[in-house]
Symmetry: C2
Subunit: 109 residues, 2 copies
Amino acid sequence: MPHNHEELLKHVSSEMPVDELLQDLGDLFKVFGDTTRIKIMYALHEDEMCVCAIADLLKMTQSAISHQLKVLKAANLVASRREGKTIYYRLADEHVKSIIAQGYEHITE
Amino acid sequence: MPHNHEELLKHVSSEMPVDELLQDLGDLFKVFGDTTRIKIMYALHEDEMCVCAIADLLKMTQSAISHQLKVLKAANLVASRREGKTIYYRLADEHVKSIIAQGYEHITE
DNA sequence: TTATCATATGAACGATTGCTCATATGTTCA
DNA sequence: TGAACATATGAGCAATCGTTCATATGATAA
């Protein structure tokens, strides 16, 4: 007969956040889970940059960068301001830096 | 003529980590970027659990959980110990908790 | 207005991902 | 040894993802 975890499950499931929140958490980290987006966030670490500067820096097309900035913005990880034709992007808040910093710590042990 | 960012790019690129590290960072967060894996890590937040208990908790097949645990283990996010037929998984270190906590803070503002 | 620069966006395509299903491996106990 | 349990794994498939390409939108200056 398979073994029993009723008590454990009762306790653990009472501590689990609701599904919607866990889904949102996954969706947030999914945004961090791409090298291009990580690079963009790293580039914005110190100062705002315009789209074409980011594209130059990463040696990628303007379109690809623009698509990814949209993803980052939808997740509230970057914000932007317009100045004439140019649009400058910056990190939206300090969470971005601390999440990346924690990840960095993990992989560099 | 397109506008110029030479100075900015020179500075920013000097501050960028090497590509391999940025790739590793992306790969790490990719692991966090799935609801099933987030749930598993949350379940292990307080105590170790065996595979079938996790499967019961999440109402998913043993196979699906086992596949995901392999991913988590490859990323050094969980560790395991055997006790007879049963294998117990636990969080590998405190980084898991702090990364999730930072993400949690971000989405709950 | 027209030309040019900066950025955004939609469709399409190849690559990756997460699950299922079937089966293999490993452990215990009779 | 054989049966039952716990877990792992490989193949296959649908769904998602990230890029490219073509084109649209928006702003500025002549």
